[in-house]
């Protein structure tokens, strides 16, 4: 299963889903991390959320742990099979994953 977490710098979680510069993908089977450069989307002046949400769909993400999604990203992701959890503010990717495996994250949808 693939878990995606928006990140500022590959370590801290991002404060905004659509404009996150990086995405950390964690593969639960192999315990591998992948770092996806989202700067082409995060810098766009319009519709960053649309493109970033499309990236999630195309990357076949199963679970997304993110700050509250914007309305357009919500629109796209809600209609998919991706499960979305709320990432606590000012946390690291590691902390968020630990909370996820402890089952203590709030569900967005």
């Amino acid at each position: 299963m693939r878990i995606a977490i928006p990140s500022e710098d590959k370590i801290l979680t991002a404060s905004h889903f659509g404009r996150a510069p990086w995405f950390v993908f964690f593969e639960t089977e192999t315990k591998e991390y992948k770092y996806i450069d989202n700067s082409s989307h995060s810098d766009s002046s319009h519709g960053a959320g649309v493109n970033t949400a499309s990236l999630m769909l195309e990357s076949e993400v199963d679970t997304l742990i993110s700050p509250i999604l914007g309305p357009k990203a919500t629109d796209l992701i809600k209609n998919s099979s991706i499960k979305v959890y709320k990432a606590p503010e000012n946390s690291t990717v590691e902390e968020v994953l630990t909370l996820y495996f402890k089952n203590s994250l709030e569900i967005q949808f």
Partner: protein
Amino acid sequence: MTNSKKIKVAFSSGKGGTGKTSVATHFAQYLSLNEKTALIDLDVEEPNSAIFFKNRVSIKTEIVTRDTPTINSEKCSFCKLCVQKCNFNAIAMYKESFKFFYELCKSCNRCKNICPNDAIYQLKEDIGEIREYQSGDLFIKDGLLKEGSVQTKLLIQAVKKLSNSYTWEIFDSPPGTTCPMVESISDVDFVVLVAEPTPFGFHDLKLAIEVVEKTVKNWGIVINKSGSYDNIIESYVSKNGYKVIEKFPFSENFAKKYAQGEFFYSQFDDKMERIKNYILEVL
């Protein structure tokens, strides 16, 4: 009048409530006594210039639409060329499903024009209506943005497009210094900044001057609700070499009449004449 020269004047301000509509309506009414004049209310979120003209007769109301694209799934190969080429990221496509975000779409038609399968066609979206009135010799036009629509600029452009020619086109601008205000002064000959001598009015006047200086060549200031605090504006104006064309005094009686939707600057025809002459002089 057989004057063939066309003069477009916008009444703007940074702050709301300084008296744009008051001065613009009275100025247009005054001009219309002798010259072919149109009063165009470009505050499409709250058009209220026409309210002052109680004897107005409605001539025309027209729905304004814009093109919004959609996809014919039977023709679409889901190649995503439209998604990649959209400058506004208004299209999302995943496998064989798609979604348009019309609040991002600028109706530029690029997706339709580049589609290799001719799969994109246009729908019409209502963005509001334009309304035309006649009051005596004055032609009045305004627009009303549809609730929830963000296509303010498009509707303002539609309101500005007149089918007849007028010697004077008087624009009542929306307040603020953002896109709708900029659109309302984008192709005028002269901007009258209606300023209010209060700390708030002064603050927003400076913002408006910044925009106006970058947008038009000729402009001047009218102080409305003038009184003992005019110095807030006047010292700044003289320091920077700007021009106060005219002043309208503050009076409770004006406020009362305004609240009743009645004309109250009719005794100031001389002031209107001076504003007109100043504009003609600098153009």
